[in-house]
Amino acid sequence: MAGGPSHFETFDANKPELIKMDGQPMPDSFTKGQSIAQLQNQKLACLRPQFPFRKWGQSGTEMTTLFPHLAKHIDDLAVIRSMYTDAINHDPANTLMNTGTTISGRPSMGSWIQYGLGSEAKDLPGFVVLSSHAGRSPQPISVRMWHAGFLPSQFQGIQLRSTGDPVMYVRRPGGVDMSRQRDVVDAVKALNGLQIPALRDPEIDTRIAQYEMAFRMQASVPNLMDISKEPAEVLNLYGCKPGDGSFASNCLLARRLAERGVRFIQLYHRGWDHHNGLVNFMKDHCCPSVDRAIAGLLTDLKRHGLFKDTLIVWGGEFGRTPMAQRNKGAVGRDHHMKGFNIWLAGGGIKGGVTHGTTDPLGYNAEENRTHVNDLHATLLHLLGIDHEKLTYRFQGRDFRLTDVHGKLIKPILS
């Protein structure tokens, strides 16, 4: 949810103190000496949660009314309300959320996981990235978010695109049909093979294997991306139309990818940077664009028997201020790094749990504070990896996704 969805309008809306303080100055004790993004030199006044919340499901997990479809799965979710991060601007915060540090050039979590677990997919890359947009003019995102950093580049995320070639350079040249392409690849393979006896260079064997993989991808990727043959009932479940490039389509693709053994699937849904128009963007654009789609994905994973083996994580790079932002039109909220929420579901997750709290004004994560590095440690743990042992030596140092930090969030584990 790139841009930073507000915790007050999603899973942290039970804030009677903040409601009482609505329109009042934000107490100095919170904001003094703290970094502030776009609210620099503005009056800092409290803004109450903009939507009602209620308790949902058997677990009674509190959530606003913006996610009626997701509500049906509420007892599967583990909600963390006490997340915090180190960066207050999109670029560094996204970099931290994806690579465990704000310094550029480090491997992304998907790359670490590929490096740690390898790939199960036979004719698709093991780490894919899809993106969509709804809501406010989106923040840029960069290849850094799915880059392999100093890990070998076979571990980097591959973008699957809804327009143009689904994978860069997967389209055959004009005038070269599948059989002629096969001939070329076969000839390359045969000629490369002739060199093996004399040179015994293992890179030649790898090269041959990679050409095979590339060739298979030319069929498998378009095949994967073509959801037009999915039954109407399935399309309806997610709320997507073939070729619409929506988050809902990407959710359906995510299921298809998971089925094919792709290890790490990352969906960027952009447009959550609500400096203004918070109510409108949340109610009419962002939440509706994900609610039915995610609920559909959870349902679909369950009925395909994939839910218990798939870890689903929903969240953004940071949260939003309890203070109103009013200098850009209809009221919004600014970037906020001291407290926000995310949720997890699926393999290894205890459903119906909420973990941690923010303070009564939703400013600071208070109880069971959970850093991004802790989340990463937990994700790796759920995938069977000890985050302290997954290391790679670079510039004389053993690097980790969690740097020198990270502790498991045990209460959400099943």
Binding site: V143, P152, D165, Y169, L191, N192, A214
Partner: protein, 1002 residues
């Protein structure tokens, strides 16, 4: 060295330091805050000190009393070191080494790279055919000691291919290969090396490596990743390598070129090195935070580029493995605190004209001076013309208001320049009554000048919201007697909303018509507001000697269309008609003309003459030329290339140690620029140390790191790995050099040669070590899989840019121009879709720009060209000293399907068909010569002949498919060649360009 055998004498740097550093320093190392149990193992004094409880970790020569030896061998999990939770453990050999070292006295030595290189004598060994220079003697001695023999020299075809890629990044041509293979001269090899090192493409090849390290790119890197191209810096680097600029000079120019005395443009451009870091324009970013980020970035980069030091690790804490402190980090950063930059927002570029451009500008300025001299010289002819001109000039005399009254309450204030300014209440309508004096004798006309003023809406001259006014009627009186007015004209008459006015415009006449067509109509000026306008009218009878007049200005249009600021003039000029048209003399000229010519003083005469020259028809041609020259100068200056350079501020930013790297924490001590404490040598500079002092320290003969670091990296270029690894960490965590004496010898040779890079390059590639074949016996490979001892050459995939350059060169498409702006070859549509602020898309270039070498490709940091990225070109967000060399399906997809490679294949096919003879065999042979520089084997011929036959038939049957293939890329296909044939040979060219061999240097 077999694992079981321990060296007779355990060497601290080689055998012990890496073990301690890797396993123990995290808790018992230089980071004072992390020390456990009060024990540090990073110095002899600390390790042998008595600890709490009377124990000593190391008692030299006493294994039994040394707690360290006991702990590492203990079976008790609670006692054993390193502890289980550290995930570290010692091998049996490491334990044995530590024990033996303690038994031998636990001698500590300073880390090898922090001790100046040691000049040792060259080993006196010789082997015919192998030892070409001293390098080989060091290598040979080690080879023998390890039980290896040198490998055979590679064949000439391999050697020229290897040398061409290594030294120019381009393949040789088949003609060059043959010339070399057939060169009987005993110095054929050395001659080839000399030719390649002298090639202008040598600089391009070396630049690729340097640009990776200094993270050169065309965009800012953070968030919106906007355009910020600096190709002049790239050209500087290419030229520096081609001109063989000594490395110390190269270093000084980049770190401190702006501080050099009599600096040249090129040195200024070089100082742009300090500005190559990523920067941000993201809204809501805090300048203080980003200033801290840029400082850290520069410390990481400079210390890695020149010293292979991981000083960057000390941003948050003292270094865990090397003796760098957090204070060292920030003191190093303070060297750059003088750099002028924009913490958040666009950076300021500086024009840096080339010498030719500067000369052209100088010439234009000389021309300007010449013309100005003509325009400033008064001649007798001009004097005569001036007298004639003067007679025809209307001299307006400004009238001084004595009284100014408003009917409806507007405040009218008389100004020093004799204008009247309205303020206060703004009535809908008003009438101003003014009494004015200084009316000249025999006045024949009046002029009302309406003026803009900052206090008025839209700067006036009126007080209506849009800055307009309407003067509906002007009445003039002399005493009680009315003055009849006629021939009203204006500098501008409003036609806007003219249909509402009976005159169809808001003209001057309606202001003196006695309101016969209505009281609300008059003179107005929309949309020419915000500037002066004038209304002129004649009197029917010249006024006699009346000094004072009264003007009544009616403004009865309504909606606040009243006057804001104005002035009244009169003239006694006697020409037939006086109108508002034409230019009005400036007040100072008017007043000079009003003085009789013989009563004017010298200054007045000069001013008048100068004014005349500025309008004299006699000089109009010169003025026209001057205007042209000035606009040429302006255009020239605007055409100057610009770049980011270092500019030193008089008052550098204050730098503090940031506790745990936290930029919000102001509690750390303030630091001044200083080099790391433990690497201090020589005399500290007086006063605040500058970037020049830093550069001097880096390239000082006493600096133990700089020369070693560079020769080690050059070595890696030619052998695939350094003598010391990794290339970017010469600290404790790096491996000690395999050939320490050779590394030191090379470093000293480098410095003694005057930091001569080409000298070192030639030395390395002329060695027998370099000339070996890369193919060797499996047993040798098994015994030394990483080729530490160099009993063979290396074999590796070409770098990203070379993969591209090679394909373009083989096809003949490559455009070999050196330098210039970045270029945009084809890139898949929509690849930049995730960029914003602003949204943008990649527009491929046309013509030659499509076929430039890879190093000129536009380097977008967040979305690097996917074709380069697939072959491991780095994003250049951070320093890259060693690229990874992966082997991926994306690489296959690029070579198979990227239009660049399909286009090169079909252009290569044109060469094959037109230059390769008639039959398949000769054509395939031609293709192998050109691309792989060898003769095809029979199996290869068979395979490719079969393929071309098959595809020829297919394309003959399906010409539209052939046409589609030949349309790939911008270059039109050669229409004289048969399409099906060309398409079929394109298949062959694609196969060859996709071969592993084609993208491999061996």
């Amino acid at each position: 060295m077999a694992a079981e055998v321990l060296p007779d004498k355990v060497d601290y740097n080689r055998d012990i330091k890496p073990v301690l550093s890797d396993n123990c320093y995290a808790c018992h190392g230089p980071d004072a805050k992390q020390v456990k149990g009060g024990l540090r193992l990073d110095s002899y004094e600390a390790a042998t000190r008595e600890l709490k409880g009377g124990l000593r970790a190391i008692v030299p020569k006493d294994v039994e009393e040394s707690e360290l030896v006991y702990r590492i061998h203990s079976d008790d999990a609670d006692e054993r070191m390193p502890p289980t939770e550290s995930n570290k453990s010692l091998t049996a050999r490491e334990k044995a080494l530590l024990k033996k070292w303690v038994a031998q006295g636990a001698e500590y030595a300073k880390h090898w790279s922090y001790v100046a290189p040691n000049k040792t004598s060259v080993p006196e060994v010789e082997q015919k055919g192998f030892t070409h220079n001293h390098i080989d003697r060091f290598i040979l001695k080690a080879l023998k000691a390890e039980g290896f023999e040198p490998n055979a020299e590679a064949d000439r075809r391999t050697l020229i291919r290897r040398l061409s890629f290594d030294l120019t990044g381009l393949p040789p041509t088949w003609t060059e290969v043959q010339a070399f293979v057939n060169d009987k001269s005993p110095k054929a090899y050395e001659k080839l090396v000399d030719r390649l090192v002298a090639s202008k493409h040598y600089g391009e090849r070396m630049a690729v490596y340097w640009l990776d390290m200094v993270r050169y790119a065309d965009t800012i890197g953070y968030h919106s990743d906007n355009h910020e191209t600096k190709p002049l810096y790239r050209d500087y680097v290419i030229n520096a390598f081609n001109d063989n600029k000594p490395y110390d000079v190269f270093t000084r120019e980049q770190l401190a070129g702006d501080l050099l005395k009599n600096r040249t443009q090129s040195q200024l451009i070089a100082s742009g090195y300090n500005r190559l870091n990523m920067n941000t324009r993201e809204g809501g970013s805090q300048p203080k935070e980003y200033t801290a980020k840029y400082l850290a970035d520069r410390v990481r980069n400079t210390s890695t580029v020149w010293m292979a030091s991981t000083l960057g690790c000390s941003e948050c804490h003292d270094h865990k493995f090397d003796p760098f402190t957090s204070k060292d980090f920030y003191s190093f950063g303070a060297f750059f605190a003088d750099l002028q930059e924009t913490p958040v927002g666009g950076q300021k570029f500086t024009p840096v004209p080339s010498m030719a451009q500067e000369a052209q500008l100088e010439e234009l300025k000389e021309r300007q001076k010449g013309i100005e001299k003509i325009l400033n010289t008064q001649t007798p002819e001009l004097d005569k013309a001036l007298v004639k001109w003067e007679k025809n000039q209307v001299v307006w005399q400004v009238l001084q208001p004595v009284k100014a009254e408003s009917l409806n309450g507007t405040q009218l204030k008389m100004q020093k320049d004799h204008s009247v300014l309205a303020s206060g209440k703004t009535p809908d309508k008003d009438t101003y009554t003014l009494t004015l004096k200084n009316v000249p004798e025999g006045a024949r006309a009046f002029r009302i000048e309406v003026l803009p003023d900052n206090s008025l809406p839209k700067k006036g001259p009126g007080r209506a919201g849009n800055g307009n006014f309407v003067i509906t009627e002007v009445l003039a009186k002399s005493g009680d007697k009315g003055i009849a007015l006629q021939n009203a004209t204006a500098s501008f008459e409003q036609t806007h909303a003219g249909d509402k006015n009976p005159y169809k415009k808001w003209n001057a006449t309606s202001a003196i018509d006695g309101d016969i067509k209505g009281a609300e109509f008059g003179w107005a000026v929309l949309p020419q507001i915000g500037k002066p306008q004038r209304l002129v009218f004649e009197v029917k009878e010249p006024l006699g000697g009346k000094n004072e007049v009264t003007f009544v200005l009616k403004q009865n249009h309504g909606t606040k269309h009243t006057l804001g600021r104005f002035q009244v003039y009169a003239t006694a000029h006697s020409s037939s008609k006086i109108t508002a048209q034409g230019s009005v003399l400036p007040p100072n000229i008017s007043s000079i003309i009003a003085i009789e010519s013989d009563k004017r003083n010298a200054q007045q005469k000069n001013v008048l003459a100068a004014h005349y020259r500025s309008i004299a028809p006699e000089l109009s041609q010169a003025r026209k030329v001057l205007g042209e020259v000035k606009s040429q100068i302006d255009g020239k200056q605007k055409s100057f290339p610009t770049t980011l350079i270092s500019t030193s501020m008089a008052k550098p930013r204050m730098v503090r140690v940031l506790p745990r790297g936290n930029w919000l924490d102001d509690s750390g001590q303030e630091v001044k620029p200083a080099v790391p404490d433990f690497l201090q040598f020589g005399k500290a500079p007086e006063g605040r140390a500058s970037r020049m002092d830093l550069a001097d320290w880096i390239v000082s003969r006493d600096n133990p790191l700089t020369a070693r670091v560079l020769v080690n990296r050059l070595w890696a270029m030619f052998h695939g790995r350094g003598l010391a690894t990794p290339l970017d960490d010469f600290g404790s965590q790096g491996a000690p050099p395999t050939h320490p004496e050779l590394l030191d010898w090379l470093a000293i040779e480098f410095m003694e040669s005057g930091w001569d890079i080409k000298h070192m390059v030639k030395l390395m590639v002329n060695s027998g070590t370099y000339r070996q074949t890369s193919v060797s016996d499996q047993k040798i490979v098994d015994k030394d899989p990483y080729n530490l001892w160099l009993a063979r050459q290396g074999r590796w995939r070409l770098e990203a840019e070379m993969v591209r350059d090679n394909a373009l060169a083989v096809s003949g498409l490559l455009v070999k121009n050196i330098g210039g702006g970045s270029v945009k070859p084809y890139q898949p549509a929509g690849y930049w879709a995730h960029l914003n602020f602003p949204k943008r898309s990649w527009k491929a270039d046309a013509g030659d720009a499509l076929y430039r070498r890879g190093l000129y490709t536009y380097w977008c940091r967040t979305f690097l060209h996917p074709s380069l990225a697939a072959f491991d070109a780095p994003s250049r967000e951070e320093c890259t000293v060693e690229r990874v060399r992966s082997n991926t399906p994306q690489q296959a997809l690029v070579l198979l399907n990227d239009p660049t490679y399909v286009e090169t294949a079909r252009i290569f096919a044109e060469r094959i068909v037109s230059e390769g003879g008639k039959d398949d065999k000769s054509r395939i042979t031609f293709a192998y010569h050109e691309a792989l520089h060898r003769v095809p084997q029979s199996r290869e011929l068979e395979l490719l002949s079969a393929l071309v036959g098959k595809h020829l038939k297919q394309y003959q049957a399906d010409t539209s498919a052939a046409e589609a293939l030949l349309k790939t890329g911008a270059k039109p296909a050669n229409g004289k060649l048969d399409k099906a044939e060309l398409a079929a040979w394109t298949s062959i060219a694609r196969v060859i360009l996709n071969l592993h061999e084609n993208i491999t240097r061996n």
